[in-house]
């Protein structure tokens, strides 16, 4: 039995300076064998810098790292891996077109006379996958499997015989509940083998479910390390954002949905084969309709179908009383509907273009290419939005990809708002942004609604759906299974609906 009183890895007095910023200041972190250690903090708190130092991707300016009591110096990630420190990064990092076996053994294929021994390589891959009880075809391209399986393959790849420390950076970000549970089973198993696990996530439920201890960072400094069972949720949030969470988010009163305006859109039997089963949905001016469900339940697809970003093959969609045929984003925009996609980087922003250009893009598309907005007009609109949404930037002509995640999300919102929509569709409006910006966006949704806008909000965070929605359509397995309104809109009710077979 190993001595569990010596930390597996101990980082002390870690300080890291970037030009003009102290990214980390005298931070200590210590993880014991067989421990799941949650590392928490808002965006920019220094989590990823600390992890990069731990895994050799960045050198530290000051401080020491000890592995099993031995002082070590890490010059590269390869160094760290040799010593048994492995990482699985936030977005699954595998080569989609390559086979599972090749992905598993890339850069560590057993060779004979300089040539790869593929039989031995496959055995190695099979052995590693078996450790995680994963039985999949080694020859298929890894990209043909679900994200959850890919995540497990990535973990299996990271595990070597000598792995002592495993860093999981947001491993559950794109997993649904079942997949997350399967992953946690694997984590518990690894834990029982004495591996020290660093778990980074922004799902607080998961933190309490899986971790033994919690370390919170804020602005590059250590706030504290506590046993998970001794740290109430409210205290944890307090540690993370340094202020009481304003109860405002949860306390919004549901309004009666009787005296609302005409429906902005009415979907009847709208559907698309293999994507989402036909559903009915109407949204009236001045209300927020939520789309709740697990990942893969069809939330995004419903939103995209209404916006015309996906083609429908059944049913009818009526916008402002007109039946829509051949729907497209361009058409929807012309009918005063705007859409904020889930994936900012891939579908939201044009990174190289300036904040100003990103903000006016939709309005310009709506006006058509011949009627160019004058520069003054563009400046006025962008300025208005930067003020209204408190986008933190010194200069509206900066490329948008230089902004932080929360501010980027606000730019996507600003683009939608500038086009002056009657219906605003938001897909995961708060994904990947810090707690402060989260609250601002939730408040903004309610404010827009009270100004008479209709909103459709799809989100994986139930609390968010409950907080903002007047009405909620609940989805499961690509199908709408029911709609609830008013006082019925509670966390428990929705969970019940999703859970009931």
């Amino acid at each position: 039995m190993e001595d569990t009183s010596i930390p597996r890895i101990e980082m002390s007095g870690i300080t890291k300076l970037f030009p003009g910023v102290k990214a980390l200041q005298n931070v200590d972190l210590c993880i014991y064998p067989g421990e799941v250690h949650a590392l928490l903090g808002e965006n920019g708190a220094g989590k990823s810098t600390l992890i990069k130092i731990m895994t050799g991707a960045l050198p530290t300016d000051e401080g020491k790292i000890r592995l099993d009591g031995q002082a070590i110096v890490l010059n590269s990630t390869v160094d760290a891996q040799k010593l048994g420190i492995s990482t699985v990064y936030q977005e699954v990092n595998l080569i989609p077109a390559m086979s599972v076996a090749k992905n598993m053994t890339l850069q560590r294929q057993p060779t004979r006379f300089g040539l790869i021994n593929w039989a031995a390589a496959r055995n190695l891959a099979r052995k590693r996958l078996k450790q995680l009880s994963l039985d999949i075809d080694l020859e298929r391209p890894v990209g043909s499997y679900s994200i959850a399986i890919q995540q497990l393959v990535a973990i299996a790849r990271a595990l070597e015989d000598n792995t002592k420390v495993l860093v999981l950076d947001e491993p559950t970000a794109s997993l649904d509940a079942g997949e997350t549970n399967a992953l946690f089973e694997v984590i518990r198993d690894l834990k029982s083998r004495g591996i020290a696990i660093v778990f980074i996530t922004h799902f607080l439920d998961q933190v309490y479910e899986i971790s033994d201890r919690i370390t919170v960072l804020r602005n590059g400094q250590l706030v504290g390390t506590s046993m998970a069972k001794d740290l109430p949720r409210l205290d944890l949030i307090k540690q993370m954002i340094g202020r009481e969470l304003e109860q405002a988010e949860g306390q919004l009163t549901k309004r009666s949905t009787d005296n609302l305006g005409e429906p902005v859109i009415v979907a009847k039997g709208l559907g698309c084969k293999r994507v989402i089963e036909p559903f009915d949905l109407n949204i009236r001016a001045g209300e927020v309709v939520g789309l709740a469900g697990l990942l893969g339940s069809g939330r995004t697809e419903t939103a995209k179908l209404i916006f015309g970003a996906l083609p429908s093959d059944s049913g009818t969609l009526t916008m402002n009383g007109e039946v829509v045929t051949n729907n497209s984003p361009r058409q929807s925009l012309g009918r005063d509907i705007a859409f904020c996609p889930e994936d900012r980087k891939e579908e939201g922003l044009v990174g190289e273009l300036s904040i100003r250009e990103n903000i006016i893009l939709s309005l310009q598309a709506k006006n058509g290419w011949l009627k160019q907005l004058s520069y003054d007009e563009q400046e006025r609109l962008a300025d208005e939005m930067i003020k209204a949404l408190a986008i933190a930037t010194p200069d509206m002509d900066k490329p948008v990809n230089q902004l932080s995640g929360g501010n980027q999300q606000k730019v996507v919102l600003a683009r939608a708002l500038v086009s002056d929509p009657k219906l605003l569709i938001l897909d995961e409006p708060t994904r990947g942004i810090d707690v402060g910006a989260h609250a601002e966006i939730v408040m903004l949704i309610r404010r827009l609604c009270s100004q008479g806008m209709a909103l459709l909000v799809a989100s994986s965070e139930l609390d968010e759906i409950v907080a903002v929605s007047d009405r909620v359509a609940v989805l499961r397995d690509h199908k709408q299974i029911g709609e609830i309104a008013g006082d019925e809109v509670t966390r428990e009710k929705i969970i019940g609906m999703i859970a009931s077979g």
């Binding site: 361009r330 044009v350 273009l353 250009e357 893009l361 006006n367 160019q372």
Partner: protein
């Protein structure tokens, strides 16, 4: 000591500015030319037309510059058009063919431009409708276009493909007042494109599509149409260059006309600071890029070096400009510089 620091920071800032290096390069070539050829800056009037080395650089750079302007638009959409040389060849063949058939030269001018547009339509169809990667899609016409030109030459029995046309040659080698017509054509193309790109929202849409196609689509931009229009523009520009180049030689020679013009045009865009990753259009700098390429060729001619040095010098200068644009290489040079000083 402190002035030294501010000077170096300022130099660094200047070095980081997009237009600095191409303009410096062009200026350097002109200055060197002034030394090696005493009469370099002389401009004379011969037969009612401006003559001189500087004019000659502008004159010869025009076809490449016009093609490069279209290329800049396509590259802005994250695309590339490898077929422009072949388009020039096809346009030339069409001109010679229709002249042999006795069409009105005015109509032929539009037929040639229409041929360019048609080629653009084909490329646009492959890229925007069939979603084939641009470099692959335009490779098809690049590979087969000169063959098509040869085939068109067969339409009138494979006889002599040379021709005379006052209108077309006037556009190519003629002059209006003192100014060579093709310079006027080039400036006209530039202004028309500039208005199309910067005084309508087309430029913003192209840059949005080039930067992030799916985001542009979801923001309401019809990416397919925008990409299509970019290839049409490139095809039309190649058609205009086709008229100038074909009329210049009075003959249709599909095998060797405008050889490597696609490469020169892409180089012009890149030297002008455009990135093949798309998302930005720099029309003015693209023309500067084309001028740099031609100025180099002219310098070699007037310096008395054998013309076979042309390609090597071009390659070296291109590499030099590219290295200057690279942050990594700049840092390495700066590092060497400060290491020497200390």
């Amino acid at each position: 000591m402190s002035t030294d620091i501010t000077l170096s920071t300022r130099l660094r800032a200047l070095a980081g500015y997009r237009a600095t290096w191409p303009l410096l390069a062009l200026a350097a070539i002109f200055i060197v030319d002034g030394f090696i050829s005493p009469g370099f800056y002389d401009i004379r009037i011969v037969e009612g037309r401006l003559f001189g080395s500087v004019i000659d650089i502008f004159y010869r750079a025009m076809p490449t510059a016009i093609v490069a302007l279209g290329m800049a638009v396509v590259i802005g959409t994250k695309g590339i058009d490898l077929s422009v040389g072949s388009v020039v060849a096809i346009c030339g063949a069409v001109i010679a063919w229709r002249i042999h058939e006795g069409d009105s030269h005015f109509v032929i001018l539009f037929l040639a431009l229409g041929t360019g547009l048609l080629c653009g339509l084909w490329n646009g169809f492959l890229v925007a409708v069939l979603n084939i990667q641009p470099i692959i899609a335009t490779l098809i016409l690049m590979v087969s276009g000169r063959g098509i030109g040869l085939l068109v030459n067969q339409f009138y029995g494979g006889t002599d493909p040379s021709f005379e046309s006052a209108l077309l040659q006037g556009l190519s080698v003629g002059h209006i007042w003192l100014i060579p017509t093709r310079l006027i054509v080039g400036v006209g193309v530039f202004i028309a494109l500039w208005f199309l790109i910067r005084r309508t929202a087309l430029g913003l849409f192209i840059e949005a599509v080039g930067g992030n196609t799916s985001a542009a689509n979801l923001a309401g931009v019809n990416a397919r149409l925008i990409i299509f229009s970019a290839y049409l523009i490139a095809g039309l520009c190649a058609g205009i260059a086709g008229v100038i180049l074909t009329a210049d030689t009075h003959t249709s020679d599909p095998v060797s006309v405008a050889l490597y013009i696609e490469l020169d045009a892409i180089l012009a865009v890149v030297i002008g600071g455009g990135s093949l990753a798309g998302g930005r259009i720099y029309l003015g700098m693209t023309v500067i890029g084309a001028l740099i390429i031609q100025a180099l060729t002219t310098s070699i001619l007037i310096s008395g070096l054998p013309p076979e040095y042309n390609l090597v010098v071009k390659a070296v200068v291109v590499l030099f400009v590219l290295l200057l644009q690279s942050q990594n290489a700049r840092n390495a040079v700066w590092g060497l510089f400060s290491w020497r000083k200390s």
